[in-house]
Symmetry: C2
Subunit: 198 residues, 2 copies
DNA sequence: GTCTATATCCTGATAGAC
DNA sequence: GTCTATCAGGATATAGAC
């Protein structure tokens, strides 16, 4: 994402973005001023405006990065033509966990957006499209008989990704391997907390 | 919660609180000004200050109501002396879903708090205490053999309540009975999405 | 790329009349 | 219980020098 910085002082857009996202996540977007962002970089507010058009652009860029990751995961899953719906859904859960963990600050920010501006409304719309596709996968897996038929597909989809998305509330890279976590999440989602008798 | 309003104009604290919480949830606490709250009630900002000492007090009262509900649920579960750890955990999940749905706006607000002030830090501390107790329950259920031993108790507890708490992102009272939803959540959490062979 | 200085507006909160 | 008027501080954003 970042081109190698060639020597010397000063920051680039990626540095400003990273600093902003960190603060947005820690204190909230609205509670973070451009001056906070500037001071966290050791520069002045005006200097920040040299790199970025405005506060909203920081938000738009950051949540766009998160949405692109999730869309990529969905695109990969769509490509699994020979797989069952259950396998596709399991793969989507696993890939989503990996996106959440690898782009943690960006996805964290995305999941806190409330639709307060055009930028945020766009993000919510893209999230809704993702959710609808998850619901369709659940429905298809039910038709296969590989997911219990006694739950509403939309509800199951929401609870499933509610669990997945809740990772952003506590996960940190040093708190364990992302691949193992993806396995745990998938196991709990599809097989439950109770032991399965083999 | 509200005494029957005896005739005529003017609002009371509960009305101001309800209006504030609605806006806090829709746009975020920081993005909501006291003037927004006032205008949504059809009065001026100064009139709001007649009912409430300040913006923080609105937040404190609202999230206190949510925390009290969750603490009550935990207290009930602690009282089940004859129950297994699994039964206690299942009961806690069910009661938590009922608290989330019955106090939806307050719990929604609580779950979005980031620790930006003394009020918010207090709330986070009470949430942490709740989480620790859930982890202890999971551990006890594992010791009984009623929860799979291959997952870290703290991780399982977080994912479990991540799923439960995600309700606030989409539930609305007219979207189905809360008791049924609690049953669905419990079934998915403990038995998973896959069908169980009886 | 960063700075100082400034414009403009909105914020939470208070005083005091009706 | 609501109003008008007001305050001090902080917000986003811009202009222009270095």
């Amino acid at each position: 994402m970042t081109l190698p910085r060639r020597g010397r002082p000063g920051h680039d857009l990626d540095a400003v973005l990273a600093a902003a996202v960190t603060l947005f996540n820690a204190r909230g977007y609205d509670a973070t001023s451009m001056d906070d962002v500037a001071r966290s970089l050791g520069i002045t507010k005006s200097s920040v405006y040299h790199h970025v058009r405005g506060k909203q652009e920081l938000l738009r860029t950051a949540i766009g990065h998160a949405l692109d990751g999730l869309d990529d995961a969905m695109t990969q899953v769509r490509g699994l033509a020979d797989a069952t719906a259950l396998e596709r859904l399991e793969t989507l859960v696993r890939l989503s966990v990996l996106v959440l963990t690898s782009r943690l600050p960006y996805v964290t920010l995305l999941l806190r957006v409330r639709g307060n501006s055009a930028v945020e409304l766009d993000a919510l719309q893209r999230r809704r499209a993702f959710d609808h596709e998850v619901t369709a996968l659940v429905k298809a897996a039910q038709a296969e008989g590989s997911i219990r038929p006694d739950v509403d597909p939309a509800t199951a989809a929401r609870l499933l990704f509610g669990m997945v998305n809740s990772l952003v509330e506590w996960y940190s890279p040093d708190r364990g391997n992302a691949g193992e976590l993806a396995t745990t999440v998938t196991a709990l989602a599809f097989d439950g907390l109770r032991p399965r008798s083999p």
